[in-house]
Symmetry: C2
Subunit: 180 residues, 2 copies
């Protein structure tokens, strides 16, 4: 068992929570300073429209200083079921509603630094039922891609977000199994 | 063009660098506070021994409070070529040397928070030439897995680190293409 000896928050800002722990490993070694960035659980989704296009979102990612073509998704709210969260995010970011949502599993972006998990989904039969309703700081462009286009992007390393590329790979595998 | 208006470092610790930026988006919107965690570039590798076992490393990941079965890898040192870094990390973490190392591309764990890229590699024909030489805080157990065992772990969502699972998927694809 790992034993936490002390915890000190170095940032408690609404957009950024980070702490420094001192802990003892099961073998008895003391780790004097380990930094953890705390994030809420999140979700992302390979969302297929009724005519089999994949809904993607293009946005500026400030930490890397470049645009990134990603999947719809976002943070799960406190006490919100993850299936409800992904439907809400899809509607807010894209204006589409989906009749079929399948869970593909969970992953962790970087469990050496970040404490959160990200849940991966596949949504099908999307119909535009609303308009985008973005948060104040979101500037997102919706991009529709065919499955073949996305496969080529994966092969060419053009999807630069690891969890989203993984979600695409898992969704393609699931679609192949289902549709032969 | 994005214009940085101000940058303030909130942590400059040797193990944790984080800053808060104020910037202007190309459309003219001001983002008052955006937090970025700065990490060095890193690398990970699907490393096959001469008898086709995959070298994996089991270690405790404090942010998520659990053990994680991952690939060998680590941070690239300043001015170190990435190919040299991955050979160095392999030797330090596993004691194996490799005759053939192939680049599989780069990814980003979470470009909404972390500024670094991670380079993905496939190494083949590994021979044990040395002993593990770990950093002070590393407690790593080497685990050898067959390719079939790793495929089953991917299918069962047992690889919990997104970049490492992605690297495994890309390596499997590469091995399939090469070996038919």
């Amino acid at each position: 068992m790992v034993k936490i000896i002390s915890t000190n928050y170095i940032s408690n800002h609404q957009y950024f929570t980070a702490r420094k722990d001192k802990y003892q490993t099961p073998s008895g070694k003391i780790v004097e300073e380990y930094f953890v960035v705390e994030l809420p659980e999140s979700a992302c989704v390979v969302a297929l429209t009724a005519d089999n296009k994949i809904l993607m979102v293009s946005q500026y990612r400030h930490p890397i200083g470049q645009m990134s073509l990603e999947l719809p998704g976002g943070f799960i709210e406190k006490d919100e079921p993850k299936e409800k969260a992904i439907s809400r995010e899809l509607l807010e970011e894209t204006g589409y509603s989906f009749t079929e949502i399948t869970y593909l599993g969970k992953t962790h972006a970087n469990p050496g630094v970040l404490n959160n998990a990200t849940h991966l989904f596949l949504a099908k039969n999307g119909i535009k039922t609303s308009t985008q309703q973005l948060d104040e700081n979101e500037e997102i462009e919706i991009v529709l891609k065919t499955i073949e286009e996305v496969k080529a992007m994966i092969a060419n390393n053009e999807i630069i977000q690891s969890m989203h590329e993984l979600c695409l790979v898992k969704a393609m595998e699931k679609l192949k199994v289902v549709e032969g």
